[in-house]
Subunit: 266 residues, 2 copies
Amino acid sequence: MPRVVTSFGNDTVKLIRSLRDRKARRESGLFLAEGLRILAEARDSGVLPDIIAFAPAGAAHPLAAQIIAATEAAGGDAIETSPDILSKMSGKDNPGLVLGAYRQPPTELAAIDRSVAPLWIVAQALRDPGNIGTILRTGDATGAGGLILIDDCADPYSVEAVRASMGAVFTQWIAIARWEEFVPWLRAGPGQLVGTSLRTETDYLDATYEQPCFLLIGNESQGLPAHYEAECDLLVKMPMLGRADSLNAAVAAAVMAFQVRASWRT
Amino acid sequence: MPRVVTSFGNDTVKLIRSLRDRKARRESGLFLAEGLRILAEARDSGVLPDIIAFAPAGAAHPLAAQIIAATEAAGGDAIETSPDILSKMSGKDNPGLVLGAYRQPPTELAAIDRSVAPLWIVAQALRDPGNIGTILRTGDATGAGGLILIDDCADPYSVEAVRASMGAVFTQWIAIARWEEFVPWLRAGPGQLVGTSLRTETDYLDATYEQPCFLLIGNESQGLPAHYEAECDLLVKMPMLGRADSLNAAVAAAVMAFQVRASWRT
C-alpha cells in the first residue's frame, strides 16, 4: 500500500526535491522523471522507479495505477501526496500527477556493447542539458545504441535532459568518458568515427558511412577541437547556405544521424 | 558621443530591461539581442539597433566600436554603462559586453515575397521559444526565406528565441498569422504545402518536393491537427526506429529542410 505523505518536511519529499541538484543526484545515484508518459516509456523499457510519487487523481489513471502497483511489487516505495507537494518536488508548476525517482545506470564506457547497434552518437562538451535530452530522443528515433558524452558535458540525468529526452533516457545507453579513454576504447573494436567540419570537401550526402558508425558532435560554441577532428576516420561538411557557419548541436546530430540511416537504406 | 549611464533607474536601462517581457516588446516594438557575435550578424545583414549599450571593455573591441559608431551615425542611441547594469538589462550573468535594442520588422504575411526563396518553414503553435530560434537558425542554413508562425506560437522576438537563432532572426523573414489567413495567402500563389505525419506511407526520402516548398511543422506535444494535415499537398513519414513516435519540433524541421534541399541537388 502506498504511504500517504502530507508534509513538505518528509524525508522522501526532501530526497526527491534534492534531485534537481547535480550533487544530490551523484550522491544518491537517483534521478527524477516526471509525467505518466515518460514513466510509461520507462516501464515499457523494463525500468521501474525506486520511488514513485503521485497525487490521488494520478492513481485514478489505470496506467498510473499499474505502474504504482508494479513499483511496489518490485520493492519500490510508493507515496501518495498532494499536487502542491508534487509541484514542489519537481520544481514545475504542472508536473503531471505522477513522478518517479530512478536509479542511474552505470555510465562506464566498458558497459557498452557496440555490436548491439549500427549507430552511436558521441557528443563533446555539450553544455545544454536540453540538447543532450534532444539528442537522446533523436538517437532513439534513428536506432542508435546510445550516447557517449565526452569531456565535461551537462548531466544527462538532469531534470531538463530527462524531460527533453521524452523517455529516451530509458532506451539509450549513456556513457560518460574522457577523450583519452574514449579513443583507445573505440580503436579496440570496429567503428568509423565521423565528424562534421568546415575543413573538408566531402559533402555529408556523398560520404560512405560504415557500421558501427560513431557520430562525433562538437560543443555548442566551439565545435570540435582540431585534434579531435584529426582522429576522425571521416570528416564531412554540411552545406550552409546562409550567413551562419554552424547549426544547433542537437540539429547537427539529427541531420547527420538521419543521413547515415538514409545512406544504409537498401 | 555615447552617453554614460551609471544608474539602474535610468529610463533607457529600464526600457531595455523591460524587453524581456512580451507586453513591453509589443508596446515598444523593440526586442533585445545580446553579444557581439549576434550584433555583428545584424550589422552584416544591414540592421542596426535603435539603442546600443555596452561596457567600456566592449567598446575596446574594434568590431564593437564600428557597430557603436554606425548606430550613432544612423541616429541611434549609444549608452556606455557598467557590466553590472548590462547584466541587469539582459537578465543573464554574463551577457557579453554589448547588447542592442532592435525594432521589430512587420510580421504581416502580406509582407512576404515567396519568390525570393525556394523553401519556407511554417510552424504551428510552437510553445518553446528555443525551438523557434533554432528553426530560424536552421532556416538560415538551408536557404529558407523565413518562418511563418501559425496560431499561438511563442514570441520569435523573446530573448530566448533571439539567442537560439544565433543571428538568424536578422536574416529570416518572420510572419505571424492565423491558419485561416495563411491558407488563402498560400493558395493565392505557387507553393507545395508539406506536412509530416504518421498517417501516410510516403517516406520522406522518396517524396518529390516542389518549389516553393512550405514545410509545415506541428506543435511540440500534439503534432498537426487533422484538418491541417488534410490541407497539405504532400504528407511524408519520417521513419521512427525506436520506441518514440515523434521528434523534437526543431529537429523534425531540420531533418526535413535538409532533405528537401538534398532532393533538389543536381
